[in-house]
């Protein structure tokens, strides 16, 4: 048993050390992450604003990541793992998208990969991503070292295609529906408790002092239910986009090299 536990720790340890090469989620959350330093400050700001606005309007989150090195990962693998680790897109809708760009250097090829979350695979099939976005828009510009131009036109095409798929309003309605589903259950429980405790103990506990632990328990229980899965991570400056929503990626998308 002891050996087993040690083995478990070792296993978990190796898994986390393997994952360590995937960059951590940026704090505060950003949609444009130029780790390779390919874009100018103004360009980053423009792109960030456009993407944040798009995220607020549609709840679809597009993340741009540039890295100097893929650390031995395949581009598609790297992009998928970033999307999954950061939770790009909304939970349940999985409408996130990661654009990963590694620039061409003297001894290695340039790589780009557009990874689609589960929820965008339908509107952005791999073949469309490959042909319309990567081959037609991005790579020709990347070949001329126009990284900003390639990313911007690619993003515009993506926005045009995905705009109708999700809307922020739809998302909000869904969230409020999902949130209220748990309440009736607690109301019933509450009534049950009150009638149980209330009847036998009415005289002594009427002023309510001793019912505090019960309330605390209720608060803890309902709180635990509501907070599952969302990180309530709202960035304050510049409008923001509400933080990453916990979307999931299944390896969809396409990429290319030059």
């Amino acid at each position: 048993m002891k050996k087993l536990i040690i083995l478990l720790f070792v296993l978990v340890g190796t898994v986390t050390s393997l994952m360590a090469q995937i960059p951590d989620r940026p704090v505060p959350p950003r949609l444009v992450n130029d780790f390779a330093g390919l874009l100018q400050k103004g360009e980053v700001k423009n792109m960030e604003n456009a993407l944040e606005q798009f995220a607020r309007q549609t709840s679809t989150q597009i993340v741009v990541v540039t890295v100097p090195d893929l650390e031995g990962y395949a581009p598609g693998d790297f992009a998928q793992q970033i999307g999954e680790k950061w939770g790009v897109g909304q939970k349940g809708d999985d409408n996130g998208l990661v654009i990963l760009l590694k620039p061409k250097t003297n001894d290695s090829r340039g790589e780009v990969f557009v990874a689609t979350g589960y929820g965008l695979e339908g509107v952005l099939p791999d073949a469309i991503v490959n042909r319309e976005i990567v081959d037609n828009e991005m790579i020709p510009r990347f070949k001329n070292n126009d990284y900003y131009g390639g990313l911007a036109t690619g993003i515009n095409v993506i926005m045009d295609i995905t705009r109708g798929e999700y809307t922020a309003q739809q998302y909000q309605e869904k969230v409020s529906r999902g949130g209220s589903a748990g309440i009736p259950f607690f109301i019933i429980l509450f009534v049950l408790f009150i009638s149980l405790f209330g009847r036998s103990r009415r005289r002594r506990f009427y002023t309510g002092g001793s019912s505090l632990p019960f309330w605390m328990a209720m608060g803890m229980m309902s709180g635990g239910h509501r907070s599952s899965g969302s990180f309530g991570n709202f960035s304050s400056g510049g409008g923001g986009f509400g933080g990453f929503g916990g979307g999931s990626f299944g390896g969809g998308g396409a990429g290319g090299s030059w």
């Binding site: 048993m1 296993l11 598609g76 693998d77 998928q80 073949a127 490959n130 042909r131 390896g251 969809g252």
Partner: protein, 192 residues
């Protein structure tokens, strides 16, 4: 006496709410089931792409009958191996793996062959199919990894104290993982 009654109610409800991890075990078990369904789903997706791919290639490379037949044969072998998650043992998983690996290698042989046909490689339909196939291979890798992760979470949960004592009573047994493909630790050689 009344006080004792309250304590009893509290203890019983504590058990009801905590359920000794039983509900959690059910939840994790369901997660493994659904991630296995996803694994089968993406393999099915690959199998569905193949007839279209073979037909497209046939139009340009009819001399490669042998390679094409190899792909079709491997496909029918792969689709014939279906596993019920209930019967997911290391042996059946290996069987499943072998059949799917057979299809993977037949497909990679086909992809090598098509390099010789520039017309085919310029065909938009073929390029689309190729992108879809690559995407499917990515999805297979991802879903296998997710299956392993959910299985690991499940196994770790049921084998920890105190669940290790009673998990077996309810039929929660250790589940098997996907192992790395034979030779997968070697990166494929690329020649220019």
């Amino acid at each position: 006496m009344k006080r004792l009654g309250i304590v009893l109610i509290a203890v019983v409800s504590a058990f009801l709410f905590s359920s000794c991890g039983y509900n959690k075990m059910v939840e994790l078990d369901e997660q493994v089931t659904s991630s296995w369904a996803q694994v089968e789903n993406v393999y099915q997706r690959r199998a569905d792409l193949i007839p279209n791919l073979v037909n497209t290639v046939k139009g340009y490379a009819s001399h490669e009958q042998e390679t094409l037949e190899g792909v079709i044969e491997a496909r029918s072998k792969a689709t014939s191996v279906n596993i019920d998650l209930e019967k997911l043992t290391p042996e059946t998983l290996q069987q499943f793996n072998q059949a799917q690996d057979g299809l993977s290698s037949a497909l990679s042989r086909l992809m090598v062959v098509v390099e010789r046909y520039p017309d085919l490689k310029a065909n938009q339909n073929f390029l689309d199919l190729q992108a879809q196939l690559e995407g499917t291979e990515n999805r297979i890798a991802v879903e296998r990894r997710k299956f392993n992760q959910t299985t690991q979470t499940y196994n770790a949960y049921i084998r920890k104290f105190p669940r290790v004592i009673y998990a077996g009573w309810f039929g929660f047994d250790k589940k098997s993982y996907f192992e790395a493909q034979q030779g997968a630790e070697k990166a494929p050689e690329v020649q220019f």
